[in-house]
């Protein structure tokens, strides 16, 4: 089948706090742009390596990230992003969990910012990182949080509320905010809105096919039979439930209160009503 769905050339940030639907959006876009009658292999989405990949940084910049101090690394990451963005002849949807930084973020043509109810993020993050829910919440409220893995550069993450506010309020890059709950509720309509925002083209049939090829059932089927290379060591499975509102069954009242006390203004701005209003 011929691929006709298109996106204009340029760097598109797929930005989010972790566990907010970033991988799902990547799989959706990869399936849409492939236009195949079979689902894309989740371990071979034919994407460019993301700019936060250690291999990619070293390959393009010719220095090992571990030989740089944090200031030097930040400086070179900015040059790297500007250079890559300036050379692109096709669309490059690039995953990032970085806190917004104009020096790093500005060269992009567009940003899709994925947001999810922080109470569900806490549940998902605890499973993903193999930590307690309290540990996950502590990370989400830590303004100095950094993240890194064996395959990724160390990058500043910050706390959940600042992450959301930083990306959604900045004016350097046009941004389309996508709520995980909306993507979950009506995936086709949300993807149609995303493609319009990115000035891309896709027919309703292409979107429907991409949505079917990216369903949670399909992703879980692939992970069960072949694994998923982005799963963390010790993590049982990456594609878990994707459930909306799981926090109501999992979080304690104290945990809910802790998240809402720190995040309520941002939560309300994006339609996540506090369980304990007025704290």
């Amino acid at each position: 089948m011929t691929a006709v769905a298109t996106l204009p050339p340029g760097l598109i940030w797929l930005a989010s706090y972790p566990k907010s639907g970033n991988t799902w959006m990547r799989v959706l876009l990869a399936n849409l742009l492939a236009g195949s009658d079979r689902p894309k292999d989740i371990n071979n989405l034919s994407e460019e390596d993301p700019l936060v990949s250690r291999w990619r940084f070293c390959d393009d910049m010719l220095v090992e990230p571990e030989t740089l101090d944090p200031r030097e690394l930040a400086h070179l990451r900015g040059s790297h992003t500007r250079f890559v963005a300036g050379q692109l002849g096709s669309a490059f949807p690039c995953k990032t969990h970085d806190r917004f930084d104009p020096a790093l973020g500005a060269p992009a043509r567009y940003a899709l910012y994925m947001i999810r109810d922080p109470r569900d993020v806490a549940v998902s993050l605890s499973h993903h990182a193999g930590t307690s829910v309290d540990g996950a919440i502590a990370q989400m409220l830590d303004p100095t949080a950094h993240s890194h893995g064996a395959m990724q550069l160390r990058y500043p993450l910050g706390d959940w509320a600042d992450h959301v506010a930083g990306w959604t309020a900045q004016t350097d890059v046009p941004v389309e905010v996508v709520r995980y709950e909306d993507l979950h509720g009506d995936t086709s309509a949300t993807m149609s809105r995303v493609i319009d925002a990115l000035s891309g083209t896709a027919t309703p049939d292409e979107i429907s096919r991409a949505v079917a090829h990216s369903s949670l059932g399909e992703l879980q089927r692939q992970e069960a039979s072949h694994g998923f290379r982005e799963r963390l060591p010790g993590q049982k499975r990456f594609f878990r439930t994707g459930r909306i509102g799981e926090w109501r069954d999992v979080l304690t009242p104290a945990q809910i209160r802790t998240i809402e006390a720190a995040c309520a203004p941002v939560m309300e701005r994006w339609g996540y009503a506090p369980f304990h209003p007025g704290i």
Partner: protein, 314 residues
């Protein structure tokens, strides 16, 4: 210990070449330079911001007919010319010994590519006269694995840069890197190599030069018996080795070229694609997945040893 001489010029053996330097390098020095032919010289001297008539470039590097230039703002500039001269120009207030890692890694690789070399981002050890290479990006555990294998009786050959020679009609040979191991403190502790620790790789970086545990002479080159692509499996998984089909093996080797963008820029000079084809046709290329936990390093060593014994490779 790695104890540099105190007076220039300093002489070294790197990837099969005789190197004479204005500045002491963090690796084992050779004796007086004597009559040995000098292949490459290192100089601390001014380097221009840009090259003329650039043929290839990246965000922070340029290549023209004669030279390769690496520009690291606030760190320094480095220029490799004609496969013979490496110029090191530290940024103001940056001590020269804090930038040598870039000269010895990227700068020296450009010199080698200018001379037509094929380089892999791999550590290497020797067992029973045959070389085994371990490829992977920074953070993949190359140094730690080669250090552990050296502790287990193999000879150490290379830390992260493996230069391959392809003799006419023969199998590929690898020549010793000559540089020290570079290890983080946790690996040094796990491998009980504290006595061999030398200076930090850079002043603010918690990684150290470590003298290799063996010092056998493999300067004539060692035949390559197998190449492994390192990946981490989950900690609940045992180490596993799987052979790659030829096309995947060729793709993996190209991806693991040391400073691949420089390799591609000089690909015509080195005959890169033909050499990768020749290597894949004569040498097994495998995926080696193993747990990240340093306390389970011995399981990986056992798996490799079994593989070598069963395949009759060593």
């Amino acid at each position: 210990m790695i104890e540099p001489r105190t007076q220039p010029p300093f002489a070294y053996r790197m990837s099969g070449l005789n190197v004479v330097s204005d500045v002491a390098l963090p690796m084992r020095a050779q004796g007086p330079t004597g009559t040995a032919q000098t292949d490459v010289t290192f100089h601390v001297e001014e380097v221009p911001e840009h090259l003329d008539q650039v043929l290839h470039c990246g965000a922070n590097w340029e290549i023209n007919e004669t030279s390769f230039l690496l520009n690291l703002p606030e760190i320094g500039r480095f220029m490799a010319s004609d496969g013979r001269r490496l110029s090191i120009f530290p940024a103001p207030d940056m001590p020269v010994d804090d930038v040598l890692i870039f000269a010895m890694g990227t700068g020296m690789s450009a010199i080698l590519y200018q001379r037509g070399a094929m380089l892999l981002h791999a550590s290497a050890v020797v067992r029973n006269g045959k070389a085994f290479l371990f490829c992977g990006p920074s953070g993949a555990g190359k140094s730690t694995l080669s250090a552990a294998l050296s502790r287990a009786g193999c000879d150490f050959l290379s830390d992260d840069l493996s230069a391959l020679i392809q003799p006419e009609g023969g199998s590929a040979l690898i020549v010793p890197d000559g540089r020290a191991l570079r290890l983080f403190a946790d690996s040094i502790d796990r491998l009980d190599m504290r006595e061999a620790v030398g200076p930090r790789v850079r002043r603010l970086i918690e990684k150290f030069h470590v003298a290799p545990p063996t010092d056998d002479d493999h300067s004539a080159g060692v035949p390559v018996a197998a190449i492994y692509m390192l990946t981490y499996a989950g900690d609940d998984q045992p180490p596993a080795i799987k052979r790659l089909p030829p096309l995947n093996a060729a793709q993996a080797l190209l991806r693991q070229s040391y400073r691949r963008q420089i390799a591609l820029a000089y690909a015509d000079r080195s005959g890169l694609s033909a050499r990768i084809g020749a290597l894949v046709s004569t040498t097994g290329v495998y995926h080696l997945s193993r747990p990240r936990d340093l306390n389970r390093l011995d399981e990986t060593i056992e798996t490799l040893t079994r593989h070598w014994d069963s395949a009759g490779q060593a």
